[in-house]
């Protein structure tokens, strides 16, 4: 088993959803997570708050963002156990944010001794 990091972005459509839709969306997430936990392939993760700063340059400059585009906004990540990249991307296809314009970046975590 290898570790894969799922990085969640976008899903801007949820900003304009009504309360009932939001609840249903949340319930899809709860169900997805419960399924991952039942399969014992969920290995942790965190949500991220929307605001943030970037520190950059030889003489470091602190700026707000990066918020060039809101669809770049990272909402959080989690670590999933899978045997291959192919299997990991199959799992990511069930992410409830996809129909709402969201994206999942799937990266393999390099094992370090």
């Amino acid at each position: 088993m290898k570790d894969f990091m799922f990085i969640f972005r976008g899903a801007n459509e949820q900003y304009s959803m009504g309360p009932e839709e939001m609840q249903q969306h949340m319930q899809k997430w709860l169900a997805w997570v419960a399924a991952l936990q039942n399969k014992k392939i969920y290995a942790g993760g965190h949500p991220l708050l929307p605001y943030g700063k970037t520190v950059q340059g030889k003489k470091p400059i602190v700026t707000d963002g990066p918020f060039a585009e809101s669809k770049e906004l990272v909402g959080g990540y989690f670590i999933i156990k899978a045997t291959s990249m192919e299997e990991a991307t199959e799992i990511a296809k069930d992410c409830p944010d996809l129909p709402l314009g969201g994206a999942v970046e799937v990266r393999e975590v390099m094992p370090v001794e």
């Binding site: 969640f8 899903a11 959803m17 009932e20 939001m22 997805w32 949500p47 909402g75 959080g76």
Partner: protein, 431 residues
């Protein structure tokens, strides 16, 4: 926000149905009471934020024991936060600033008590039904702010598009601002007048869900449930616990009791004579009688009293043939005295057809003022008159009327109902 998982086992079903929708109405009302009607959009933004935060937090950390209280707490903290930040813009001495902050927090806290939340919701209903607003705007605003419907849901419920709803909401919010409407419960005569328009809107919401075959079944059910919930809320508040409120509530219960029996599994309309009465919801009928009894405490006799009594009469009859048509005719006559509309006359004629003769009923319909116009423009008139001719065997008269009715309705279920009658006509004519 995207959401993260965590210790969420068994929490999938821990959230009650429509929790967000119902809490939305409560939070918007309380926050609008705090921020003022001119800041209605700010209140709505805070609520949206609370839901987004809940989505993240609950998925990741597990659903809290009391999700509703969790949401309220987030809304309250955010409200205090916003006010604090505004106060910071004006610089006072440290001592005064501290005092102001304390007092703000205390005052805001009070708005979040159970009783005050209900009070705020009622004030919100009264504001949404303010006479300065057009009726269609009142409906949209009530659905959005009080009932917690999303734009897409309102559009679906009212069978229009989202842009139209956005426009109505915008216009309504502008008017609330321009007219300096405050969240209050009117007193004296003004209260009675305003209650009238609240009843009208609640009844409209209910009927939109109950009668319109245009919207899909699911959203219609929600509309009826919301109208009943708001009416119940009204009935438990001192400003609203009046006979007319109970009458409207009982009327809704009686109608709602037949909800399951009036469409078939294939989504066809089943009219009263063909309905399986064992499917009528007994619990709702009981509640209907309970509220009808409460509505009779007093002198007042409103259209809701009479319409509820009519609905009760139908619920009482063990089968269609045993309906007390004599009593219904009396009730319709009483209703006509205070609500002399073509629709009531039409309904009365249907009773006449059962009690006396179809010819007598047709004669009464023909005497309705402006009937020629109504027959050309309102589905229900040619549909009913055409059906009466059909029952009389006068196919020559029935055919064009039913055809007009078919053309006038946009509801697929109603179209199908009429089409079946037209088909029957065609086969009969061949024989």
């Amino acid at each position: 926000m995207e959401t993260m998982p965590g210790n969420t086992s068994n929490s999938v079903n821990a959230i009650v149905d429509h929790l967000f929708r119902h809490e939305s109405g409560k939070m918007v009302a309380v926050l609008t009471r705090i921020f003022g009607v001119h800041n209605l959009e700010m209140a709505e933004d805070v609520v949206q934020e609370a839901f987004l935060r809940a989505t993240q937090s609950w998925v990741f950390n597990a659903v809290p024991d009391n999700p509703a209280a969790w949401l309220m707490q987030v809304a309250k903290n955010r409200a205090i936060d916003i006010i604090r930040r505004q106060q910071h813009c004006t610089r006072y001495s440290k001592e005064l600033a501290h005092q102001l902050e304390q007092e703000t927090a205390n005052t805001v806290q009070q708005f979040f008590s159970e009783a005050e939340i209900a009070d705020s919701q009622l004030r919100m209903i009264f504001a949404c039904c303010h006479p300065a607003l057009k009726e269609e705007d009142q409906v949209a605003l009530t659905l959005k702010t009080v009932a917690g419907f999303g734009i897409a849901e309102i559009a679906r419920a009212l069978v229009t598009n989202e842009a139209v709803i956005q426009k109505r909401l915008y216009r309504a919010r502008q008017l609330l601002k321009e007219e300096n409407i405050v969240l209050e419960i009117p007193a004296g005569n003004e209260l009675s007048r305003r209650l009238e328009s609240v009843y009208t809107i609640l009844y409209l919401l209910f009927n939109e869900g109950y009668n319109s075959g245009k919207a899909d079944e699911l959203i219609r059910r929600d509309l009826c449930a919301e109208a009943m919930r708001l009416c119940l809320l009204l009935s438990t508040h001192k400003a609203g616990n009046r006979p007319a409120t109970f009458a409207l509530l009982s009327l809704m219960c009686f109608h709602a009791s037949r909800f399951e029996s009036r469409v078939s599994e294939t989504n066809d309309i089943i009219l009263l004579p063909g309905q399986d009465r064992s499917k009528w919801n007994k619990e709702l009928i009981h509640r209907g009688y309970y509220f009808l009894e409460k509505s009779s405490e007093g002198e007042e006799l409103t259209i809701y009293h009479l319409e509820s009594a009519i609905a009760a009469e139908h619920c009482l009859a063990p089968e269609f043939a045993l309906t007390n048509w004599q009593r219904l005719l009396q009730l319709y006559d009483m209703l006509l005295a205070i609500k002399p509309t073509p629709q009531v006359l039409l309904n009365r004629a249907i009773v006449v057809a059962q009690l006396h003769s179809i010819t007598a009923a047709i004669d009464e319909i023909k005497q309705i003022e402006n009937i020629d116009h109504l027959l050309r423009t309102h589905y229900i008139f040619p549909a009913v008159l055409g059906d009466l001719y059909l029952r009389l065997g006068d196919h020559r008269q029935a055919q064009p009327l039913l055809h007009t009715a078919w053309r006038l309705t946009t509801s697929q279920a109603e179209k199908k109902l009429i089409a079946e009658k037209l088909e029957r006509l065609a086969t009969n004519n061949l024989n």
